[in-house]
């Protein structure tokens, strides 16, 4: 059987790759994908903790289900806003979003 640690290593890597990507990417869609990585690492965490540490209960699984649903809704809104930006400035590069600074 695969030990819990391996899953946790994967999820931790996903989490910090996501944070790194969010900070360094210069394209709104790439930033959104990085955030999705963070949210997915959280889902893995919940499922793994539930499966290995508290096998008798279902709280972690349910949390994951809800988290997936809600993050889908968030992504839909984010993409709608990004499309709106594209319509306004024909571009979704972060460096062009500089109307407001400091």
């Amino acid at each position: 059987m695969i030990h819990m640690e391996y899953y946790l290593i994967i999820s931790t890597i996903m989490m910090f790759v996501g944070i790194y990507g969010f900070v360094t990417r210069r394209n709104l869609l790439a930033m959104l994908i990085s955030v999705e990585l963070i949210l997915n690492s959280v889902d893995i965490n919940f499922v793994v903790f539930n499966r290995f540490l508290f096998p008798g209960q279902l709280e972690g699984f349910f949390f994951t289900l809800f988290a997936i649903g809600i993050s889908a809704a968030e992504t839909a809104v984010a993409i709608a806003i990004i499309i709106n930006i594209y319509r306004n400035i024909r571009n979704i590069e972060v460096r062009n979003l500089r109307k407001m600074k400091w």
Binding site: M31, I38, F63, E74, I82
Partner: protein, 475 residues
Amino acid sequence: MDYTSIFTLMRAEVTLTAILVLLFLYDLLAGERARRHFTAVASLLLALQAVATAFPAASGELFGGMFHYEPMHAVVKSLLTVGAMIVCLQADGWLRDAETRHKQGEFYILTLSTLLGMYFMIGAGHFLMFFIGLELASVPMACLVAFDKYRNYSAEAGAKYILCALFSSGLMLYGISFLYGTTGTLYFDDMASRIDGSPLEIMALVFFFAGLGFKISLVPFHLWTADAYQGAPTAVTSYLSVVSKGAAAFVLFTTLVKVFAPMVEEWQTVLWIVTVLSITVANLFALRQHDLKRFMAFSSISQAGYIMLAVIGGSSVGMTSLVFYVLVYMAANLAVFGVLSTVEQHSGGRVCLEDYNGFYRTNPRLAVLMTLGLFSLAGIPPFAGFFSKFFVFAAAFRSGFYVLVFIALLNTVISLYYYLLIVKAMYITPSETPIATFRTDRYTRISLALCTAGVLLLGLVSAVYDGINALAYGL
């Protein structure tokens, strides 16, 4: 389970959902003439809802402890509804524009959805409920920020807001997942007894705090605030700065005090640093702003820092002073934003500090109202802001945070300087092209009257503070 208790304990949520459905149907079915009274209908319903919510019932819980009801929640919820109502009144002029007229219904529905989310966040007794409430409060909020979709500013602000909101909720969930891993439960009550302050839990606390810090826009996590505030439509900015922030601050208090009670040392240290940073950095950045919406953004960050002074003690006095501070802050900030948005409406979008030169000569009444609001924000007696600041300082002082209170006091002096910059522009600095004299519409006048009454009376009528104090609970 006894289903009748849903209507007593979840009274606020049930009535707000009913109003949501009603307004949706009104938007769908009402004719052109009836739609002219949309604001009146919406605000009246909200006012009724606030009154119906305000009377506290006995505390209890629903759904096996997932939803909690305390008398204090009733007060906070009805406070938030009043804030939303005032925002709706002030938004009327903007919503009558040719560009936004057809979207009036959407504005109310989105606003009330976020309000419903805040209700669930406040009433949550389980992290799942808390998370759903938080997301319900922040996803429609992104739509509101990007509401003026043909203006570049609004779209840009919306993108910045939604990405930061997503990122922060990701961080928070990561923290919650480790809390679940170490304690095996997600119920607030059970978790409080199983937390022992192990290093993993400290990490979880930090992630969780970072997530909520984004929502309240405390300093290391405040970078989205100024842009979102400047780019959003002014009505939405005032909603963001007052209602959304007040709800998040209250929730931060309850979660820290209830769930993280065994780790009180750790979160007090974190909060100490964050409070000092918030107040100081925000004050210094506010000094160099010329756009007043951006200026108010930094002002609201430093006000959030002052609210954290009430949280840090974790006492029931702290809770009272927090709710009182939010109430007073709401009155003062909405007065300022009311003037800002009506001036923006009538002058073709002028929101800079220089535009307000000579404002007193052309619109003396609005200038006086704005001055009252600014004085209250700065904490000058005898306005309500002085008393709310005093109670917050007293709460922190009583818990032994002497240095913190001293730093905060120094910062009030700095904040006084930049609030008075606006007053100086309005009264003293002459201008070639002042904002022309105009008459405000009656909805704005009602809202400004409410806010001014709040600024003048809340501090002097001690029954308000005593009433809140009677319901408070703490560590």
